[in-house]
């Protein structure tokens, strides 16, 4: 529904009123910003001496190294989580019950546990067996962060891919078996490529979550961007106070810029996918860990992602109606995070026996 339906095109009186509200609203927001800036300026956080510290090469190098470390953790954790996600998703669609159960148990366990708990447990584990682990023991903070991120996000990516498998029409799988393709061929030539293509925006959005969560390295004192910034602020005394405020501003801007760039990529791919007429629908660029509706195959064409765009609603209502009988087949609610094995957990492949 376009939000403009909620109110009429304003007449002269309403236009006047809206203008007054606008002025008051703008004044309030600007006033708040001014008060914050004034207070910070009063405490000397905008003094040139304070900001001049960012001109020193060692400060710049600290921040650069922090960014590089964060990106290194993100790259490795992202790749590992995608590999693990594919493995788990394939295992969860397996014909063999023990494999399926193991994968399901792994996915549900690690999705339900806070990432911080996993990372901390891995870190303590690596610290305890430091001598026996070689390279991992040496770099315990790095590997705890990377493996923790990979395990948690791998479990989420597996669920995303499973939603992608479910979005592939069953007739395609049946046709493939009728042509004599093997299970592995159906998976690698038919299901995976289409699942990846349709879920790409969601996969990238989950990578944004991975990038944001690299900042948990702060808590296990691994010097990625946030911890490096904290150490920098902690050791730099200018005009009698530590430079926490400027460092938080700089580091925050860097994080927001990195995440926005990646989110923009996801949205761009989603828009691009919507333009094409062929293939299965491209999923929303929403973060599956926070909004599980995107993992529900029935919800893929739902207008959640297109929110704000006009003219989507008339399409959405009949689409939901059409989904009715399909949803009644199995007990798959729009719930994504319940840990309940769904009715269709055999997956499309299991259907072919």
């Amino acid at each position: 529904m376009s939000s403009s339906v909620l109110y009429d095109a304003p007449g002269p009186k309403a236009r006047m009123r809206n203008r007054i509200y606008s002025v008051i609203g703008t004044a309030a927001i600007i006033g708040l910003a001014v008060v914050v800036v004034m207070r910070l300026a009063d405490r000397g956080h905008f003094e040139s001496e304070v900001w001049n510290t960012f001109n020193y090469s060692n400060v710049r190098e600290t921040i650069r190294d922090g960014i590089l470390t964060t990106l290194k953790v993100f790259a490795l954790a992202g790749v590992l989580s995608l590999v693990l996600g594919v493995l788990l998703a394939v295992a969860r669609a397996s014909d063999h019950r023990p494999v399926r159960w193991l994968a399901t148990g792994f996915i549900e366990l690690f999705r339900a546990i806070p990432l911080l708990i996993t990372i901390y447990a891995l870190w303590v584990l690596f610290l305890t067996y430091k001598g026996d682990l070689g390279a991992i023991g040496e770099n315990n903070g790095f590997w705890a962060l990377v493996l923790g991120l990979a395990v948690y996000n791998g479990a989420v990516q597996a669920e995303v891919l499973r939603a992608g498998f479910n979005a592939v029409p069953r007739g395609q799988v049946e046709a493939a078996y009728a042509l004599g393709l093997r299970k592995s061929q159906v998976m690698t030539m038919l299901l995976l490529p289409q699942a990846v293509r349709s879920m790409l925006p969601t996969i990238i959005s989950q990578l944004v979550v991975t990038l944001k969560d690299t900042s948990l390295g702060y808590i296990i004192t691994y010097s990625e961007l946030l911890y490096a910034g904290r150490q920098l602020a902690n050791t730099t005394l200018v005009n009698g106070q530590y430079i926490y405020v400027p460092v938080i501003m700089v580091v925050g801007t860097i994080y927001v810029a990195m995440c926005l760039a990646l989110s923009a990529l996801a949205t761009w791919i989603e828009k691009r996918g919507r333009r094409t007429k062929t293939g299965i629908a491209v999923a929303a660029a929403a973060e599956p860990a926070e909004a599980p509706g995107v993992l529900d195959p029935a919800a893929v064409p739902a207008p959640a992602a297109a929110a704000g765009e006009t003219g989507d609603a008339p399409l959405a209502a009949p689409a939901r109606e059409a989904e009715g009988p399909k949803a009644a087949e199995g007990p798959k609610g729009p719930e994504g995070d319940t840990g309940e094995p769904r009715g269709d957990s055999d997956g499309p492949v299991g259907k072919s026996n």
Binding site: Y7, D8, P114, C259, G339
Partner: protein, 238 residues
Amino acid sequence: MRIAVRTGAGAPCPTTAAHEDIPVNVLLDHLAEFREGFIGTVWLTVASSVLALLLGVVLAGFRVSPVPPLRFFGAAWVTLFRNTPLTLLFLTIWFAVPQVFDFGFDPWTKALIVLSVYTSSFVCEAVRSGINTVPLGQAEAARSIGMTFFQTLGSIVLPQAVRTVLPPLSSIFIALTKNSAIAGAFSVTELFGWQKVLSDQGFAIAWLFLWVALGYLVITFTISGLFRLLERSLEVAR
């Protein structure tokens, strides 16, 4: 809930070895602290859920309102807080916000504020996409019988949006439960704090991990169960 945790704890560790050697009964020996941490997590989750829900609905109202600065404010809020790591927000309220305000907060209140503000941006987006799924004719009909913006939103659109908003809200609150673990690292009493303190005392991390995971599982399953009940009671035949 607590009883379930207790009996679950007794079952797999019947050995009564001294906890210095084989600390399998670490939970039984530190049950009081565990209970404190568990209640801490539940309390923090509940309080910040309520605050995040209120903030999120108000922000969603801002985002569909006829007043441009409010729409801009809502959009800026959502973009900013969805793209900032939660740990950075914790650092901000611990080190930067006290520079603006003269009065301080205790760690629990700070954690409450951070978690609610962060979660409210996700709630706002969920509510807004819920508003977008209400059929267009509903708002048109409300407008044509002369309802104002607030009446249309408050008595026609939002009540119908509730049904579509519930499933995403359920997982937003589950994510909030998990995010509250970060508060434990900032000296708020909750389950991660329990794990950290006991692991610093040298107890085996595997067992601590298991018990803390179980605690979180109990909370998240309760949330998804509650939401399923709510969904069922709000279900209507179409």
